[in-house]
């Protein structure tokens, strides 16, 4: 039996194995090597799965050869393969970067634990995406969440601890809501397999427990994906976590939660329940608009660059959920595209900021917070870092030629399709807010005089290269869209077809 049949299992198992090995070795260097190897293997497998799905359609893998609905099924469709690629790809890029980045940001005796937690977090996120079993989603969610709390708490600033605690409380409430929802679904359908569940739900649609389940799951997932106004945990967590962690989380954790929401809404509950019988799209539309405006507006006034882009993330998540609220192939397409495009853009920005804070630190000291007063004239000192942030910033704004433009284009198209011109106006207006916060950085970094005696001093190459791979990615996916748009469109069509 060929190995390629078992790729779905290996996708999760390899990073899962790397984590305890890292703990057993108790050595930063070995831990780094083994977890990085695990992440790269996962990335390779994700590519393999993406190709397999392209050739032969949705893959259904039966763990232990127990056929569903009795056994646990791993299911890879177009959307799952796309998100798997994003998650494992970002991990494969962030891990090599971590080596230099955590050197100062995390106490040295904790390094091996950092890698172990990273491996677990990756496992959890991949597991959520790949599994076709409702309870499994909860378990993987908790694996990723618990390791995330630890990763955030590793930040040197003591506020990282408070942020981690807060996230732990909010995250656990969210996860418990999800598991309550899944419980209701299990009680009404008697199955945990998502496909099976969806079929049985058609018979009992909109009975009270089903509605309760929908409510619990939606709220729970919304907490995890930081849907406005459930985003309070996010800014502090992103600000005080080690830079590499922030980059990884910003690109993957919230995105995977979006995936869970799409999965439950479209594949399990079905569009007719979500979009026709309930006012969910209207609610989601309003919350998305609120996120786009309130969070982006808040971002403008932040003094800490990390926090600024954290708020920007909340705003950008608004675009993703806005796309979902349209209930159309183009809208869902835009959501999936933006999930990917924003993921790589934001990861690039946070990676570059990580290099920046390292450069701001005095020799051997703990890196300071990247507040604006420290960034004056930074472009002279770190031209590549600053230029990278500008390019990624343009993608956040949605300038043509960057990835952000492509997803916004589809978003606007979806709004036009619905004939809702005012939403088009709102999308563009909120882009102006993005200009404002990106430009604050540009003005300070490029046009404020640098302190006397500034010399050129870039971040180490092991950090610049991964960051710039992503920066180039934001341009690449803005010009050559065959991969992203092709996959997202196929995924959206598949979901909408199943949901009907």
């Amino acid at each position: 039996m060929s190995l390629s049949v078992h790729l779905p299992a290996l996708q999760v198992v390899l990073p899962l194995l790397s984590a305890p090995l890292a703990v057993l070795l108790r050595h930063g260097g070995f831990a780094f090597a083994i977890v990085t190897a695990g992440a790269w293997a996962a990335f390779a497998i994700a590519i393999g799965l993406w190709l397999q799905v392209g050739e032969s359609g949705t893959i259904s893998y039966h763990i232990g050869s127990w056929p569903p609905p009795w056994g646990i099924e791993y299911r890879v469709d177009r959307l799952a393969s796309f998100v798997l690629l994003l998650v494992s790809g970002i991990a494969a890029i962030v891990l090599p970067y971590s080596r230099a980045s955590i050197e100062r940001e995390v106490p040295r005796d904790l390094h091996y634990l950092y890698y172990a937690m990273f491996g677990l977090c990756l496992t959890g996120l991949l597991g959520i995406v790949i599994t076709g079993d409702a309870f499994n989603i909860f378990v993987f969610l908790e694996i990723s969440s618990l390791s995330t709390y630890v990763l955030i708490a590793m930040g040197r600033d003591r506020r990282a601890l408070a942020a981690a605690y807060r996230y732990l409380i909010m995250g656990s409430i969210g996860a418990t809501f999800i598991v309550i929802g899944i419980g209701f679904l299990y009680l009404t359908t008697g199955t945990l397999n998502l496909v099976d569940m969806a079929e049985r739900l058609r018979a009992v649609e909109s009975s009270r427990p089903v509605l309760a389940a929908l409510a619990f799951i939606t709220v729970g997932v919304s907490l995890k994906l930081a849907l406005f106004p459930l985003h309070q945990w996010l800014p502090n967590a992103y600000t005080y976590a080690p830079s590499a962690v922030t980059a990884f989380l910003a690109a993957t954790a919230t995105k995977v939660s979006v995936y869970v929401l799409i999965r439950f809404w479209y594949s399990v509950f079905g569009e007719s329940l979500i979009f026709e019988k309930l006012p969910l799209p209207q609610i989601l539309l309003l919350l998305s608009l609120a996120a786009m405006f309130v969070a982006s507006f808040t971002a403008i006034f932040q003094d800490n660059l990390k926090r600024l882009f954290a708020y920007s993330s909340v705003g950008q998540i608004g675009y993703i959920t806005l796309g979902m609220s349209f209930d159309s192939v183009n809208g869902l397409n835009a959501a999936i595209l933006h999930l990917f495009n924003h993921g790589i853009t934001k990861a690039a920005i946070f990676l570059l900021i990580g290099g920046m804070v390292l450069g701001l630190a005095k020799a051997g000291a703990v890196p300071p917070a990247p507040t604006f007063d420290r960034l004056a004239g930074l472009a002279k000192r770190m031209p590549l870092t600053c230029f990278g942030i500008v390019i990624a910033g343009l993608s956040l704004i949605g300038v043509p030629g960057t990835a952000g433009f492509v997803s916004k284009w589809y978003l606007i198209l979806a709004a036009l399709e619905k004939g809702q011109f005012w939403i088009v106006g709102a999308i563009l207006l909120s882009s102006l807010l993005a200009i404002a916060y990106v430009w604050r950085f540009v003005e300070v970094a490029y046009f404020k005089p640098a302190p006397e005696g500034t010399t050129r001093q870039e971040a180490p190459l092991s950090m610049l290269i991964p960051a710039w791979i992503l920066v180039i990615g934001t341009i690449w996916f803005g010009l050559d869209t065959s991969f992203t748009v092709g996959t997202a469109t196929e995924a959206a069509q598949q979901l909408v077809k199943v949901g009907r």
Partner: protein, 488 residues
Amino acid sequence: MSALALAFVIPLLGAVGIALAGKSPNLRESITLATAVLLFGTVLQLLDPVLAGERPELVLFEILPGLSIAFKVEPLGMLFGLIASGLWIVNSVYSIGYMRGNDEKHQTRFYVCFALSLASALAIAFAANLLTLFLFYELLTLMTYPLVTHAGTDKARAGGRTYLAILMGTSILFLLPAVIYVWHLTGTTEFQAGGILPANMDKGEVAILLALFMFGIGKAALMPFHRWLPAAMVAPTPVSALLHAVAVVKAGVFSVVKVVVYVFGIDTLTGATDWLVAISGFTIIAASIVALNADNLKRRLAYSTVSQLSYVILAAAILAPLSIVGAALHIAAHAFGKITLFFAAGSIYTAAHKTEVSQLDGIGKRMPWTMAAFTVGALSLIGIPPFAGFISKWFIMSGAWATQNVLAAAVILASTLLNAAYFLPIVHRAFFRPLSAEAEQHPHGEAPLPMLIALTFTAVLTTAMFFFPDTALRLAEGVAASLKAMPE
């Protein structure tokens, strides 16, 4: 590599070269000049094929089906490209004198951004579709922003913020939705002779879409979105001269004409442009009146530019083939005239450190070359023969007569008087008033030689275009011919 591709590669390579040669000013400036000359030569190579009816093309990327970054040279773009790249040579000569004469800082950044701005301007000139146009329109804003804030003072940064806010704001709020809407309606953003929008579109819808375009193209400085242009005057004078009299503002009106001719077409637009005639007419008059009251020379020139830009919009809005010829010619005529005026203003600043009109008494005796050139530029903009401005105004007037557009004709006449009223007093002061007591104590001569060469040359160009308008005219007629769809 085709000449078209080279037209983008040369300034980009030039920018890299300039950046690398930053340590050695002489080498850096030689590279700038060489790049400018090479670029002009390359663009010139495209002229003959275009005049012969060819339309060289280049497709870079296809982002989405029907949505690509592509270039295609047509007569209007050719004209704009020639002007921008040609004047860049002159302006580089002038910049060298100005930047050294005033001991400016960050000169390397200045020249790099200049080269990149030119590359963006050419990309706008040769854009084959709205998306490409939009992309490079934004890039031009971004590339010129460091030039506007060059001084790095609070005032410069504030000016830069206004500049960016208005240009970026209008383009994202109005232009982008317009582009998207065109794509939504037609499935393409490709420029085509005769327009791509259906001729039977609802007139109200046409008017709204046209308004989105006209106000979205903030670089054309149609009121009330003109404030960025005076704000941009905090920049060093060479920037005001080439970018805010030629490349950037002309990119604006160029886009306006391009959209009117190649997106809407005369059939779609007929009957939907009355408001545009009115508002551009208002801009012409109002800006002239502001110019009349401005004492700061550069501010007066800036408002004069606002007013002159609306000539082009007005000409396009008249919708007569003759006025379209006039619009295209005015892009050239105003470019030559206004760059001369700015060069003169910069010379005065460099040699005499004077910025206000009221300080210019008797300056013509000390700077005869400068003020003679200034006079040529001023007369041309008023529309007096034998200077270029006369030709373009003639065609616009003829277009207004041909369509019996009384309002447009009246506006042109009134503004001619206003132009005379705000330019001639300066000439009068310079040549016929005695030097003030204060100026007597600070003797000065002419500006550095490179600057003199540059402004004399542009003054000659202004005159030459009156006597040899042939090439410009043929290109302009090519544009007018595209108003109606040609059987291909």
